[in-house]
Amino acid sequence: MEVAIAGVGEARVGRDAGCTSWELHVEAIEAALADAGLSISDVDGLISCPSTIDDHARHHVLLAEQLGMPLKRYTDSSRVGGASSTSAVRDAVCAIQAGMAEVIVISSADSQRSSVGRADTPVIKMAHYHSLDYEIPYGPLIISLYALIAQRWMHEYNWTPEQIAEVAVSQRYNASLHPNAQVRDLISVEDVVTSKPITDPLRLLNCSLISDGGAAMVVTSAERARSLKKPPVYVHGMGNAYSYYFCWNLPDYTDYLRMLVSISADAAFAQAGIDRKDVDLAMVGDPADICTLIGIEGMRFAPPGESVDFVQGGTLRVGGGLPTNTHGGCLSYAHPGAPGQHLHLIEAVRQLRGECGERQVRDAKFAAVHGNAGVLTSHCTLILGNESR
């Protein structure tokens, strides 16, 4: 049975939502349902991607209660960090194909920026996902764990900060075309390599933003989706690879890490039955710019060690050879934690519907969406398309 994304919605994405994550979840779900032309009474399944600020043991059940959804056939929480939403799409597709639900909503929301405004270091909220015994006593920011990977890649491939900076510059260009992006001013390579040092080799502009916001989507059978308000976006392929919890347990930071991305991508491409050259746009989870590069190599758009060459000259920009993170990604659109990569999925859906105005990728038929989590230890790739197969 073919399954499709029938609606997408966002809630108060940006600097300060001014509300709890529960309201963001509810508003995002309402927006996604309205987009599909459905109401809450049409929904029989819910997958929540829990918030770091207001987590709960049965987050999905509590959210359903707040939604006014007392009876449902399928609920669960997706707990794969930044890859929660991409993994949740897989779960929704399987549940619908198994006949366990007909219309499933997936939501992600967090108020990481505003809710932690009273703390001197916002990232502390995320620290409990890392090791309080073997990491935190040594003082790494969460983004420092990505810096350790960036440092190793730069060492092994002789990459320079100037080469890598093109990722942030390109994604910012894309964000400049999106009216809702958190930051839209164009930046230069020079801006990136002279921005405030955060955790070497990562500077401020190499890192994702910290945001609030909610994101949701509606998944249903292709048949049902075709009867709804918006053109369906079909889930053609799915693949996953889960490895260690702590990134420093990976056997190595380059080949093994790239292989994990490839395992997930190869499975997704094989199921979709398309080649890399068929892909019109890519979405890659980007807690830091290095993740975009690793994702591009892992998905085999560029040979090992050559992604920095691949991205030069505007490849990732709208209008470039492989428009990537066309809304700006977590670096420039928004990064409310786990919802950050849900926003990548929403952008892919909007691109495939042709709704993106100035930043529209022309004749977009296929999008490759790569979700990653846990400092690049968990991976989920989806191939989306706008034609039934």
Binding site: I124, S131, D133, I136, P140, S144, R152, T199, W248
Partner: protein
């Protein structure tokens, strides 16, 4: 007592580990200024962090073996921003992935070194910081010579 993250963020208290039933011998070793890790008595694999099963052969049989304390910097980052208020006067600090000569990796700090002198491949040796009566943290410094 588990760490309360709100407390970490606001207080000047230092975030410290909480030894558990698997890890107590590791922390006991650190208190004696010995780097002691689990070594599988079936296949010889050394593992860090302390866990109930061998990641290579899945055996639960192990001994606590003293490491040489020598290794090299597999990767590192110089952290400029404090994770919590306690670190405000400690940054910039070097947080590194250390690969021990016994083949396992750990996150730790490299200290007693000029920040500009830290590099991938640099040889390091373990040192110990006694923090409380219960907790001593293994850290690293450039290897002598």
């Amino acid at each position: 007592m588990p760490l309360d993250l709100e407390v970490i963020a606001h207080s000047l208290d230092r975030p410290l580990p909480t030894p558990n039933t698997f890890s107590q011998p590791f922390w006991d070793g650190a208190r004696r200024h010995e780097l002691v890790l689990q070594k599988c008595t079936e296949c010889g694999t050394v593992r860090y962090y302390p866990r109930p099963r061998c990641p290579t052969c899945l055996s639960g049989n192990h001994e606590w073996a003293r490491m040489s304390g020598n290794g090299f910097v597999y990767s590192f980052t110089i952290v400029h921003r404090p994770l919590a208020r306690w670190f405000a006067e400690k940054v910039p600090l070097v947080c590194a992935v250390i690969e021990l000569d016994e083949g396992v990796r750990m996150i730790s700090n490299v200290e007693d070194v000029d920040l500009g002198d830290v590099s991938i491949g640099m040889r390091v040796s373990v040192k110990f910081e006694d923090v409380t009566e219960e907790i001593t943290l293994p850290k690293f410094r450039p290897a002598p010579g």
